[in-house]
């Protein structure tokens, strides 16, 4: 038994279209990816998928104190309980609905599974020229013990619109739950989109999260990924630039301890000229934690004048922590500025002495320097509440006492 069996019996009891059946059959023939797959070489799903999960779910009402506890307090909130949409706001210029069927790229078997069996998620359409000041907050709660849930979300942002999102996936019990979340974002001309992912789930939680972004000309899309919690996290961010003057920005922080694993896979497909991409991922690894970074940048033959910047900097702060970092550059155009750097290091000795000479004890000095190292990747977050939460979680996890009102 295991997740595959759970899924098989679940699929027999639900009505799905012939097309989805076909996709599911294809998934079943491949199964979950293994470490033999190049894209999953350093991240094994084996232990995770051999567990038993509950797939049917109740969609219980979440009491408001729970919502308040995990919300950052924005007025526009979309709330899911075990997959069921239980709350959605009315916003002028924005239509928000539940799950819808849409086409997507399904090369990966995890995405095939999502396409075949996901029946929950949101569909957001932002009308052109709509500029939202306050972010849309999305809260996915898991209530049922040992739940496996899938979300399939679509965001379409019309010309000249500007919108920000804050997403949080939260398990409300201490069982081992798993989420397979897929979000597809279409950024039309001259749009600005910022998507913040707060990944601070319970120690038993597993997550596979994929975002595919399709950008048209003059659009800017930022995705910030903040990984503090969860036992297993795999993020796939894929950007496709289909027009000139697009900008794709990714910032990520992982602060892991115990046996946590976090894998960030990014892919920027520069298909058009005069575009930019920036990615900055910072990782801090304590205990037996494990980090994986794989950043692929593809510059197609016609995509001249591309500026692509990628960095992945890591601190290994224990003997048993590991990081596998792999930049992958495929550049087929000649007028391209592309830089990438990966560092695995210790703390700066000069800075450490400087702090100690100010009376700061060595452990505290190390923690503060680690905080400083990681915080660089959250500086670009434009939603103040998210930035503040990230700073607090960072300080908490590193056990430093900093005052963010200062």
């Amino acid at each position: 038994m295991g997740l595959i069996e759970n899924l098989k019996s679940y699929s027999e009891g639900v009505q799905i279209s012939d097309e989805k059946k076909k996709v599911f059959t294809s998934f079943m023939s491949k199964g979950f990816p293994t470490t033999k797959d190049e894209e999953w070489k350093y991240t094994s799903l084996k232990k995770i998928v051999t567990k038993e999960y509950t797939i049917e779910n109740t969609g219980e009402i979440i009491d408001s104190s729970t919502v308040i506890k995990y919300s950052l307090g924005f007025e526009n909130r979309i709330i899911f309980s075990d997959g069921k949409l239980i709350g959605s706001p009315n916003i002028k210029g924005v239509s928000i609905n539940g799950f819808s069927n849409f086409e997507s790229n399904t090369t990966d078997s995890v995405l095939q599974l999502n396409k075949a069996l996901a029946q929950n998620g949101f569909t957001i359409t932002v009308d052109k020229n709509t500029v939202l000041e306050s972010p849309i907050e999305i809260l996915f709660f898991t209530n049922t013990e040992n739940n496996f849930s899938q979300y399939r979300n679509l965001i379409s942002v019309g010309d000249n619109a500007e919108v920000k999102f804050v997403e949080r996936i939260q398990t409300l019990n201490d069982s081992t739950s798993m989420v397979n979340n897929f979000t597809q974002i279409h950024c039309a001309k001259n749009t600005k989109v910022e998507y913040n992912k707060i990944q601070n789930n319970t120690p038993g939680s597993r997550l596979i999260d994929t975002v595919n972004v399709y950008q048209e000309q003059d659009s800017t899309c930022d995705i910030n990924t903040l990984i503090f919690g969860g036992s297993f996290t795999r993020n796939n961010l894929n950007f496709e630039q289909n027009g000139s003057n697009c900008e794709s920005n990714m910032n990520g922080v992982s602060i892991l301890n115990d046996n946590q694993l976090a894998d960030n896979h990014t892919f920027v497909d520069h298909k058009s000229a005069h575009c930019r991409s920036n990615e900055m991922y910072k990782g801090v690894y304590l205990g037996n934690s494990k980090g994986v970074f794989n950043g692929k940048i593809m510059v197609r033959p016609d995509a001249q004048k591309i500026d692509a910047f990628q960095s992945n900097n890591n601190l290994l702060l224990s003997d048993n922590s590991t990081i596998d970092s792999k930049p992958q550059l495929e550049i087929y155009a000649d007028d391209v500025k592309c830089s990438h750097g990966c560092t695995i290091g210790q703390l700066d000795e000069k800075a450490l002495f400087y702090m100690r000479s100010r009376g700061i004890g060595i452990e505290e000095a190390k923690a503060v320097l680690t905080y400083a190292f990681a915080s660089e990747a959250i500086e670009n977050i434009s939603v103040e509440e998210v930035k503040l939460l990230a700073q607090k979680l960072l300080a908490q996890k590193l056990n430093v006492d900093l005052d963010f009102s200062l």
């Binding site: 400087y354 000479s357 660089e376």
Partner: protein, 253 residues
């Protein structure tokens, strides 16, 4: 307050300090001068506890404690402060949080609770005013993108906040224009008391026009080769270091 006896220290096989003797009493200001490469920064680093340097002999006594047995943070919390010749940039940590952390750690060492944020801010404002530091500076990242002068002023600001017993100012005047120099000197003078002492390391006489030392020492080739009163600085300015170093070179030739 501070007694240094026959201090020898170096890095790897290279002995930099070759037997330093120095006594500093509470209320005094000492200036240590000397050409580049004499060992002035090394001396200050050894006093502050920089572990890059190995102490090969001698001892340092600070208010009855053997300083060489203490960690850098313990020395600081006992009242030693070093204004760095090259202050370190720490991206990602604001000036205010840096200072808050050091004040909290100092109080912790004294068995005191953290100071309330409100009081801390008030204290910071006072000291900023003393040093003509502009608003907005507190939220900047520690020394990141600071000009040379801003970095030095930030050192003195920290000194003002930490209120040390012994302050060592290593080339604090370099990088300062004349107005900034005056402000910093004025700050140092205001912070002076009968209970604290200052060692000013410089190779120009300029700063000593504003902060008048009680003693001037010339450090050359790892030794203090001449000591005198404030007038020695003027003499050096007039005659140049050759006046002392030639004699010294002859002695060791």
């Amino acid at each position: 307050m501070l007694q240094i006896k026959n201090l020898k220290a170096g890095i790897e096989d290279n002995q930099i300090l070759k037997g330093i003797n120095l006594e500093v009493k509470a209320g005094e200001i000492h200036a240590i001068m000397g050409p580049n490469g004499s060992g002035k920064s090394t001396l200050s680093a050894v006093i502050a506890g920089n572990e890059d340097y190995e102490v090969e002999g001698g001892n340092i006594n600070f208010n009855g404690k053997n300083l060489l047995e203490l960690d850098p943070e313990e020395r600081a919390n006992n009242g030693v402060f070093l204004s760095f010749q090259y202050p370190v940039e720490i991206p990602g940590i604001s000036v205010s949080n840096f200072i808050k952390t050091s004040i909290t750690e100092k109080r912790k060492a004294q068995g005191l609770d953290p100071i309330p944020t409100k009081d801390l801010l008030k204290m910071m404002r006072e000291k900023m005013e003393l040093l003509s530091i502009k608003q907005g500076y507190l939220s900047r990242n520690m020394n990141e993108g600071f000009s040379g002068g801003e970095k030095k002023r930030n050192e003195i600001f920290q000194m003002a906040m930490l209120d040390p017993k012994l302050a060592i100012l290593d080339e604090t005047d370099s990088g300062l224009d004349i107005d900034a120099l005056r402000i910093v000197a004025n700050g140092v003078n205001k912070l002076r008391s009968a209970d604290n002492a200052t060692i000013i390391i410089t190779h120009y006489q300029r700063l000593l026009d504003y902060i008048v030392p009680d003693f001037v020492h010339v450090l050359y080739n790892g030794r203090i080769v001449k000591s005198g009163g404030a007038e020695l600085a003027h003499e050096l300015e007039e005659k140049g270091y050759d006046w002392v170093t030639n004699e010294e070179d002859k002695k060791w030739a």
